[in-house]
Amino acid sequence: LVLELLVPSRHASLVSNLVLYKQHLLIRQLDVAAHGGVLKSEYSILYGVVAIIFLISGMQITRDKLVSHLTSWRLHLYVQGISFLLIPGIILGICPLDLPLTKSNKLSPVSNYQDNHRSWRCLKPQHRYQCACWTYRSRLNTYYHLIKRGFNPQLWRR
């Protein structure tokens, strides 16, 4: 990248080279860490970096300590219970999974929302995406977009 900036092409001015470089950098930044990007993160990170962490951990933790912890059942129960029961439960409480659907399960344009307003389908795809993100804010977002289209959330609850 630096070379491209320092060695501008003969036919272009420095300014246009700078603009090109900035665009280039922007595109590059987007796919540096993407799967199949510059770093090939699906291999280098998911395999390489994780392996380095566990190799170093394996070199530091003594075997006696590991073996002694294998039989601490209460610890297993606590930790696995938190990660497989408590956290999914919290997400389930936050996330509105039971959103009603249209009668006809078809995609329809936003202007038709009167026909199937009890639905996610009345939202534009980008808003639907926003709402489907699993955050508390997304629930507020859902209400915001639905109310903006003349929908009363009080009637919407089943």
Binding site: V50, I53, L55, I56, S57, S83, R128
Partner: protein
């Protein structure tokens, strides 16, 4: 594990829990998804593959866990067992705890 170690916790316990969680996770998580996610609506694309494709998923998941967690862990333990003193000096010489902390930052990718 890295965070536990850096905060002065019991990193061996954390390591054991990571291993157990990694082995249980691929069996519990798809079950939770199938049980809790609606089949249609905005969650259409969120379900894991249809149950016929589960075999492929398990193969790739356990390949990844094996190669990136279990094999390096076993290698580290073996090195420690073969050359305990040399490994200890190596860890101190190359500041390996700091290296693994730096690697932790890369995991966001």
């Amino acid at each position: 594990v890295v965070l536990t170690r850096n905060s002065g916790g019991d990193d061996a316990a954390a390591m054991v829990e990571v291993m157990i969680g990694n082995i249980l996770g691929p069996f519990i998580t798809p079950g939770l998804c199938y049980a809790l996610l609606p089949k249609d609506g905005p969650w259409e694309g969120w379900l894991p593959v249809a149950s016929s494709g589960l075999g492929d998923m398990y193969r790739s998941v356990f390949q990844q866990i094996g190669l990136s967690v279990l094999v390096p862990l076993a290698a580290g333990q073996t090195l420690q067992w073969l050359f305990p003193e040399r490994v200890k000096s190596l860890v101190a010489l190359f500041h390996l705890p700091k290296v693994s902390t730096a690697c932790l930052i890369l995991l966001v990718w």
